[in-house]
């Protein structure tokens, strides 16, 4: 995924924050659920069609002082994975 892409969460998908660090993305159309860690939740909450991937990474680095150098690649792969499952699309300009 291009770092200038602006991914947008599928509005049908439910983010369910359970307790502590545990969260689930639930696709009601398929019944599939995907476990998410806090970084995944942080990113998911910014998949609003306005943030680019690069901007999400910038915000992530600001929020997490110990974000690793490969954070940008990880976020891109995270978004690609979500897109492959139909959980994320892209805002058309």
């Amino acid at each position: 995924m291009d770092t200038n892409a602006r991914p947008i969460a599928n509005p049908n998908v439910v983010l369910r924050e359970e307790f502590d660090d545990c969260a689930v993305l639930f696709d009601p159309d398929t019944g599939e659920g995907y476990a998410m860690n806090p970084i995944g939740v942080f990113c998911w909450q910014r998949l609003d069609g306005r943030h680019t991937v690069a901007e999400i990474v910038t915000e992530l680095r600001a929020a997490c002082a110990d974000a690793p150098p490969e954070a940008e690649q990880n976020v891109r792969e995270f978004c690609d994975g979500l897109a492959a499952k139909g959980l994320v699309g892209f805002e058309l300009s």
Partner: protein, 366 residues
């Protein structure tokens, strides 16, 4: 145990009405039997709150859910609010039209149909004349529309000698992947008809033996969360643990059987929230008036129900001197309530010691 922010699922009694009056129905004759239904708009508003709470699934029950004239509108509200659903039904009101609609939503996990016999005699004895053919027609309609259909067989005096034929019909003739079993429990109308419908100790022993045999014949295809098959499996393990002196497992030795209050809640047909559809007398609040999230997190009755799993069984006079106490979990609090008047009590119905003292037999592997 940590608590989720909101329940993951809810059982919703969307109607108090039913076209049948099954002799063992848990709904009628108890606190669940509220005599009225909520208007469509109330349910639709509540579904919006379920969305805000990120609830994932609802089970539509009653009464008979397919009796609601506005069922499509309710299901559309469920779909609109990002939920999946399943339905518990007697099967008799399922039409091609409603089945096609359910399929079109892509959100229906399953429809459970109750079938208690391989022929009208055993089924209709508890459910009313003509209900067998109509339930089977409903099941076949679901199959025709490729809707996952779960069959539940409730075991009672009139079908306990028919279990082999029922299994053959459902698994071989109808080609179901599996079916579920339970037994008529001491709830609702069953309390009035217990002598005519509930299994006695001998019949319960027979049901356990037959179901264990069928479980070997059809591996993995007969399910049970309660009733004779579940009891046979659980009690045989308890007996083995007692015999070998195995250490007690996690949660054993306390009133820990029910984990439902950590995952789900229920709503009666009048909109009153309850911990479980089997505990309809515990009123937690009213939908659209009280916050689901607040009730779930803070209601003292729910907290009390969650804390019961720390209560040791040795505290109960009922359990004194029992050799199985270290391996028991007290079973269903709702059944404990209807039998003893206290939900914080082991269920006498699920007591292995009492079952054996009354002449009950555990199945022997052949």
């Amino acid at each position: 145990m940590k608590l989720m922010n909101t329940p993951r699922s809810l059982d919703l009694a969307i109607t108090n009405r039913c076209n049948l009056r099954c002799l063992y129905c848990y709904h009628f004759g108890g606190a669940d039997d509220v005599g009225r239904d909520l208007p469509t708009a109330e349910w639709l508003r509540f579904f919006e709150e379920l969305r805000e709470c990120a609830v994932l699934t609802v089970t539509l029950c009653g009464g008979e859910p397919f009796i609601r004239e506005d069922l499509k509108e309710l299901v559309e509200g469920i779909v609109r609010n990002r939920l999946r659903f399943d339905v518990l039904s007697n099967g008799t009101l399922i039409t091609d039209d409603i089945a096609a609609f359910l399929k079109s939503t892509r959100r229906c996990d399953s429809v459970q149909v109750s079938i208690d016999g391989e022929a009208p005699e055993a089924h209709d004895a508890a459910r009313g004349k003509g209900s067998f053919h109509r339930a089977v027609a409903g099941l076949k309609t679901l199959q025709r529309h490729n809707i996952p259909a779960n069959v539940r067989v409730t075991i009672h005096k009139h079908n306990v000698h028919h279990l082999e034929e029922i299994a053959r019909l459902l698994l071989e003739e109808y080609g179901l992947p599996s079916f579920g079993t339970n037994a008529a429990g001491y709830f609702g109308l069953c309390r009035q008809n217990a002598g005519d419908i509930q299994l006695n100790v001998e019949e319960r022993s027979l049901a356990m033996e037959t179901l264990m045999r069928l479980d070997r014949k059809y591996p993995g295809r007969i399910q049970a969360a309660a009733g004779p098959l579940a009891e046979a499996r659980m009690w045989k393990e308890m007996e083995e643990a007692r015999r070998t002196g195995r250490p007690s497992g996690t949660r054993q030795g306390c009133l820990a059987a029910c984990g439902g209050v950590f995952n789900k809640m229920a709503v009666r047909a009048d909109g009153i929230m309850t911990p479980c559809s089997q505990l309809p007398h515990i009123e937690l609040g009213r939908i659209n008036h009280d916050s689901l999230r607040d009730v779930w997190q803070d209601h003292p009755e729910l907290q009390r129900m969650r804390e019961r799993q720390a209560i040791p069984l040795t505290e109960f006079e009922f359990c004194r001197g029992c050799e199985y106490v270290a391996y028991c979990t007290g079973n269903c609090p709702a059944l404990a309530y209807t039998l003893t008047g206290a939900d914080n009590h082991p269920s006498p119905d699920a007591c292995l010691k009492r079952f054996l003292e009354q002449g009950g037999r555990l199945p022997v592997e052949s």
